[in-house]
Amino acid sequence: MECMSELPFTEIFRKCEPFYLMIGVTLDEYWNKDVWIAHKKLKVYRLKQDEINNQYWLLGRYFYDALRCVAPSFNTLKPQEAYPYMDKPYNLKNNPDMETQIDKENKKQKTIQDRLKTEMDALIVRDNLRKKDKA
């Protein structure tokens, strides 16, 4: 939202009007009612935006986890069984900001990744040795 504070008030009102109508402030509320109603509705709008953003982020997070679980089975060099997907969804109720949960999940995934990397390195070393032996 761009409202230039150096403009005369009327112009500021007119400039900001479409934005506030878009977020659900009525014309009557904007022009004739308490001036802070628009401000409150702006806060509500921002909270809603954050909520939508969080939901999309969570969706991406689940998708990412699912991909990481099945990724080993797509390993062309050494296909492995897919890791089981989480038994339960993230606990949003007891962990409102999800930070701890996400950190735990990240650590778990990091362990899996490290293990995969070690296995991959070992595979490459073994492959190189085999090639040398043949030569």
Partner: protein, 113 residues
């Protein structure tokens, strides 16, 4: 503290009539149309003060006669305080659009000499 509602002034005249003075965007726009300019407040107080004072009646008491409004003004004490409150009420119409509402972050800082 964050503002929840606009600033209002209650006034009781000598006849016992009560007035609630408040600004909305419509009345702020109206006084601007009539020539009000906060920047010219010091240079032209004789023009700006009546506009600001009359504007405060537009929201709830649109039909009060100009003469009555002027009489109420004349009978009031602490005019400096009143004008400051009126200017604040007028400013809120725009401040409520521009402020981020994050008034909790009220720590200020400056470079010491």
């Amino acid at each position: 503290m964050e503002k929840n509602t606009s600033t209002k002034i209650n006034i009781k005249d000598k006849y016992g009539n009560e007035y609630l003075l408040e600004y909305n965007r419509s009345s702020a726009q109206m006084i601007e149309k009539n020539g009000f300019d906060l920047d010219k407040f010091d240079a032209q107080p004789n023009v700006m003060i009546p506009l600001l004072w009359h504007g405060a009646f537009l929201m709830h008491h649109r039909n009060v006669k100009t003469k009555d409004i002027d009489d109420i003004y004349q009978s009031l004490s602490d005019k400096a305080g009143l004008l400051s409150a009126l200017a604040d009420m007028y400013g809120e119409a725009t401040r409520s659009l521009l402020e981020d509402g994050d008034t909790e972050k009220n720590v200020t800082w400056g470079i010491a000499d």
